[in-house]
Subunit: 200 residues, 4 copies
Amino acid sequence: MTHALVLNCTLKPSPAPSSCALLAQQVLDALADHDVSGEQLRIADFDVKPGVDKDMGDGDEWPGIRAKILAADILVLATPTWMGHMSSIAQRVLERLDAELSETDDAGRPILAGKVAVAVVLGNEDGAHAITADLFQGLGDVGYSIPSQGGVYWNGEAMHTVDYNDLPETPEKVAQTTATLARNTAHLAKLLRAQPYPAP
Amino acid sequence: MTHALVLNCTLKPSPAPSSCALLAQQVLDALADHDVSGEQLRIADFDVKPGVDKDMGDGDEWPGIRAKILAADILVLATPTWMGHMSSIAQRVLERLDAELSETDDAGRPILAGKVAVAVVLGNEDGAHAITADLFQGLGDVGYSIPSQGGVYWNGEAMHTVDYNDLPETPEKVAQTTATLARNTAHLAKLLRAQPYPAP
Amino acid sequence: MTHALVLNCTLKPSPAPSSCALLAQQVLDALADHDVSGEQLRIADFDVKPGVDKDMGDGDEWPGIRAKILAADILVLATPTWMGHMSSIAQRVLERLDAELSETDDAGRPILAGKVAVAVVLGNEDGAHAITADLFQGLGDVGYSIPSQGGVYWNGEAMHTVDYNDLPETPEKVAQTTATLARNTAHLAKLLRAQPYPAP
Amino acid sequence: MTHALVLNCTLKPSPAPSSCALLAQQVLDALADHDVSGEQLRIADFDVKPGVDKDMGDGDEWPGIRAKILAADILVLATPTWMGHMSSIAQRVLERLDAELSETDDAGRPILAGKVAVAVVLGNEDGAHAITADLFQGLGDVGYSIPSQGGVYWNGEAMHTVDYNDLPETPEKVAQTTATLARNTAHLAKLLRAQPYPAP
C-alpha cells in the first residue's frame, strides 16, 4: 500500500495544539480516499541534532525518523511560518536530508528518487509561497518529485494573529486545494512506484 | 528639503486603479508630516528597456527616471505580488539600478550610498515578506540604507481575491506601520544627508 | 513524440551570445538521447506585454508563445541571475502563465497539469538555488510537475565575473547534473502523458 | 565605545573549524579599525530552545545571549548555507528575536531600534544573496537598521566543495567588501546612537 509520512515542524512539542497538525491531518484524510495510509510525526518531540550526517550520535533521534522517511512513498512536510520563513525545525529536517545526496540504491539512483513530496504551510503571517518554494527546491535537490499543485497553505490577512486552529470551519478554498493535492500526490506516487526513474 | 520618490511597479499603466499607488501615497502623506516632499512615478507608463546599462538607447525612458532617483534622498519601491514574487517591472527596476554599482561620487563612494530605501508590497495573495527581503537585499547591494522597520504591506487571507483598493478603510495595523516607517525613514535620510558615509 | 520547449529568459535579444542558450541547448541535447524533440525561444526577441491575461492585445506576442507552451510536454525555463533573482523576463513569463490557473481541460483539470517543468539557471553571481525555488513554486502552482532533481545551474565563485559561455569546457558536475535531469524529465513526462492525473 | 556582537550560526560546536568564524572575525577586525569593539558567540555551543519567547525555561541559554544582543550596538549574523538556505540555527536566532517585537523602551520604540545589523554568509554552495535577503528582512522587522552594502559573503563555483577556510588567502573582492561593510556599519551605528530614531 502507498504510504505517506507527515513531518510536522511546529516549534511546539506535543501535546500543544498545532495548526500544522490539523491541516496535515486533513491532507492525510484526503490521501486516505485514494488508498494511501499515513502517519504523523512531530519533530519537536524528538532530539534531532544539528548536522548533516545520517546519524550525529550522542542521543540523536534522527535515525528512527529517517527509517520512516525511507519506508514512505510520500513525504508531507508541514511547517509554520516564522519571520516569513520555514521554522528552524523544518530547516533542520532539510539539513539532515542533505546526507541522502550521497546515498544511492543498487542501481545508482539517489535513495529518495521515486518518492513524492508536498508542502503544507501555516501561519498567521505571510510567507507561504516563499516557504513552499524553498521546500520544493530542497526536497527536489535530494530526489523527491513534486506533483502538480503540490502545496497547500493558509494564513490570515496581513498582520492579523488568528491561527488556522482557531477558524470556525475549514475555508472552502483550502479544502479544495487539499483535495487536488491529495489526488495528484497519490497518482504520482503510484506511477513512480510502478515505473521508477531509470538508472544512470 | 528631503525628497522621496515612489516607483510604483504595478503591471497596469495609468489610469487603471492601483493598490500600490494607494498605499504608496499613504506613505508619502506620512512622510510629509516629517517635512519630506514626494512624487510618484508609475513605471508601466514608461518604456523601460530590459538590460543592465544606464541607458539602453532606442527610446529607453530609464534615463529620465534615473535622474529622479539620483535627485531623491528616499526611494519608495512599491510592487504588487504575482506568483508570490515582486512584479517583473520591479525586478526590471532592480536590473537597471545594477548599473549604479560601477558609478561612484568624487570621493569614491557608490553614487546611491547615503540614500534610504523602503518597501511597499501589496497583494491579494501571500508573498510580502519574501518580496521585502528581495528588495532590501537588492537595494542594499547598490548602496541604499534600510531604516528600522522599513517595510509596509498588505495582503488578504490565503487564496482570497480582495484588493487593498477595495477595503472599506485602511486597516489600523497598516496605518500604524506606515506611520512608523515614515518616522524612521525621514530620520535616517536626514541623518545620512547631514553626515554621509565616509569615503574609502 | 515527447516535446520540450525552452523559454530562454536572458535580457539580451538575438543574436547576442547567451549562457542560458548554451546550457539550455545542452539540456535539449541530453533530452534528445531519450527521444524528446526540442525547440528554443528567446523571449527577449518577442514583445511580451506586462499583464496577467492570455492576450494583452496591442501587438502582444505572448499568444504565439502560449500556443507552443500548450503543445509541449516539457517546459525548460532558463534564466540568468540578476541581483540574485530571476530576470524580469522570467518573472514576466510566470505572470503570463498565471492566466492558465483559470483554464481547464474537458475533464476539469488545469490545462497545464500533466506537463513537466525544469529550471536552468545561469549567473556569474550567486542566486541559483533561490531562483530554482521560485521557479518550482510558480510553475507548480499553475500545474506543472517537477521531476526528481529537476534543476541545473552554473555560477562562478563569489563576486567573479566569468560567464558560462566563457568556460573552456563544460564542468563535469554540470554535465552529470544535466544528464540526470534529462533522464528524469523524459521519464516523468512520458509517464504523465500515458497516465494523466485523474479528473476532480 | 561602539560594540559589535557576532552570532556565528554554524551547525558545528567549538572547537570545530568554521568558515563563518573566520569571515566574521575579519569583519570584527575591520570594525576595530573604526573603534568598534567586538565579541563572537557560536550559537551551537549553547542550548537555545525552540520557541518564540524571551526565555523558554528548562535550561534555555538564550537569555544570556539576549543580554549580549541588547548590550551591543551592532549585530553581525553569520551563517553557513545549507540547501541554499540559512542554517537552522540562524533561523532559530530569528525566531527568538521575534519576541523583541513586543518589547519597547521607555519612549515606546522597539527595544532593538537604533541598532545596526549586517549579514555574513558562507557556503561551498550557492545561496548567499537569498540568505542575505532573508536576514535583512527578518532583522529589519524586529528593528535593526541595515547600512549601505551591509552584507559580505563567499561561496565557490557551482557544485564545488571548497570551504572559505581552505582558501590559500582571502580573495581581494571579499577583503574589499569587508572593509566597505565595516566602514559603513561603524558610521551608521555611531549616528543612530548619537541621534536615535524619534519616539512615536
